[in-house]
Amino acid sequence: MADKLTFSREISNLMYAGHGSPLNQCIQCGTCSGTCPAVEFMDQTPRRLIGMINADLKDAVLNTNTYWVCASCYHCTVRCPAKIDIAGAMYAVKRYSIWFKTYSDDLVGPVFSETFMKTIARNGRSYEPILATSYIFGFGAKEFFKEVQGATKMMLKGRIPVLPSRIKRLKNFQSMIQHIIPVGEEE
Amino acid sequence: MANNEKPKLAMYWSSSCGGCEISVLNIHEHILTVDEVFDVAFFPCIADFKTKDVEAYPDDYITVCLWNGAIRNAENEEMAHLLRKKSMFMVAYGSCAYEGCIPALSNLTSKEATYNTVYKDNPSLDNPDGIIPKTSVKVAEGELTIPEFYHTVKSLDQVVDVDYYLPGCPPEPPQIWAVLQVIVGALLEGTPLPPKGSIVGVTNVAVCEECDLEKNEKVISRFYRPYEIVPEPGICLLDQGIMCMGPATRGGCEALCPSVGMGCRGCYGPMPGVEDQGAKMLSAVASVIGAGNENMEEAEIEAEIQAVVDTIADPAGTFYRFSMAHSLLQRAKVNGSNGKGEA
């Protein structure tokens, strides 16, 4: 009940349209982690992450890769017996870490997200090749090779665009974004 | 009254239709008795008196003042105070004086709205400059004044102390005679007077008791306005969906209206112990609406009830036709400029 801004409170505040129950309703039953298809690649299970958030273990939470490994498939959310929007919470932590640049550099996720966002802010639509360049360094040589292989194959099949497409009313679109947060200016 | 002079009778009308005056003559040959018993001290309707004559009277000079009409303007109020001062017994005569009656229905709207209807937007008049009465106006000869027109119509007892009430629109001859008898009796034979504030010439049971129409358990699935239906003779009008205030109205009129197929309008006012005749009748009528039951969904219930409620065109006008000024709320909360009470 104390009104000091705890980490758990901060995260809840970031779940703007998150229409689930508050995180402190978690009964630690593990349904989320039992469901999660990517859990083996997380260093903490989603249940634990919720627990850690509720315990205000801010740094510990941000240092996990859990929220970046979340594939946002919402399976946990729909099964949660406490009706907590767990996938939503993961997004909230992602946002937090991006805003406060607290993620570790070897993580590809955030970099990718930012580039993706800039691309859209610039063109109004996404464009795979641009994205590729931005995250490719995240891979070892082998993966890189594979990516290119796959990509070329697709290129041949005419499935990768040569030029980015843009929307017509780009100016309006960008100022629309400005209305919400100041990102995406043409630099 | 030790003196051997004849007792003095006064009758004055304020905001009313004049029917009450006529009703006095309705007492037939008794009018002669009245004449032989009373001296008429003030009765603008039948003989020429001036206000100054009354002002000249000593206090309590008039024995009985039959006041009919509601208090609509400053003059009405002024006269009420004056006659109260000069009379021993002040009788609120007829529904207007008793509880506001038809004039008080204008409490559903505002002074302006009334003015508009009377002086401006009204097909029958020609008032290009849209002149409306002002309390005073300067002319060459000097200043002319007319009484101020009030926003809210009041009953007599809302301005002066009233001794007896004689409801009815207009009162029925037997009642009129009854109240005069009482007073005359008291004056001449010294018979005891009914306690101050009594409503005389009425019963303490609602009109239905005097009404011979056959009444049944009531389940009303729609209401009819008089022109919409020919009542089946012999059957309670309310049972047939014809609005009848009988159940909520004091008896004494011998159920005149219902007996001729016209629903009671309620001119005798509320029953003893009732604060608000309109609300009471509303409650009764709504209670017997034949719509909705406990096994239905709320939405259905509402829809069914609404359908019946829609058949009651003008609840306020219907239930407060006579008792507006005496009702709990007494008037509508209205926007001063466009006075329509209805939303």
């Binding site: - | 926003h151 009471k280 209205v334």
Partner: protein, 158 residues
Amino acid sequence: MSEKYEPVIVGFLCNWCSYRAADLAGTARIQYAPNLRAIRVMCSGRVDPQFVLKALRDGADGVMIAGCHPGECHYVNGNIKTMRRFMLLQKMLTQLGIEEERVQLVWASASEGIVLAEKIDQMTEALRTLGPLNWKKRVLNSGNGYQAAEAIPVLEEA
């Protein structure tokens, strides 16, 4: 009252559902607007329209009638009769220039403390936006005194 206008609501709560709901709200320490002054009746069906008018005349800014949900009335269908009266009364009140929000009929079962609390909060807010009614002073110009129409405080109709 001067700084922030606090509306006063007279509440008629039925003994079996809504009064108990209010009790429950208290026992559960649910915090809600203290603006409702409750009167207990055995059934919402006991609420005589006279009571509503009386409350409005005597200075209430609003009246809440609360009963059991339709179909759950302790007296089988008392609340259905309440509905009938309420709906006709509402129609007449509009003619008398009284906004719908001022007289409300709500349902709250004995277990719905929260529901009732919310309804009371909502109504309080609604009345705050409408402003005071204060019938005798603002509509009847206090007691029997007279006043010209011009001087009557003008309240726009809903």
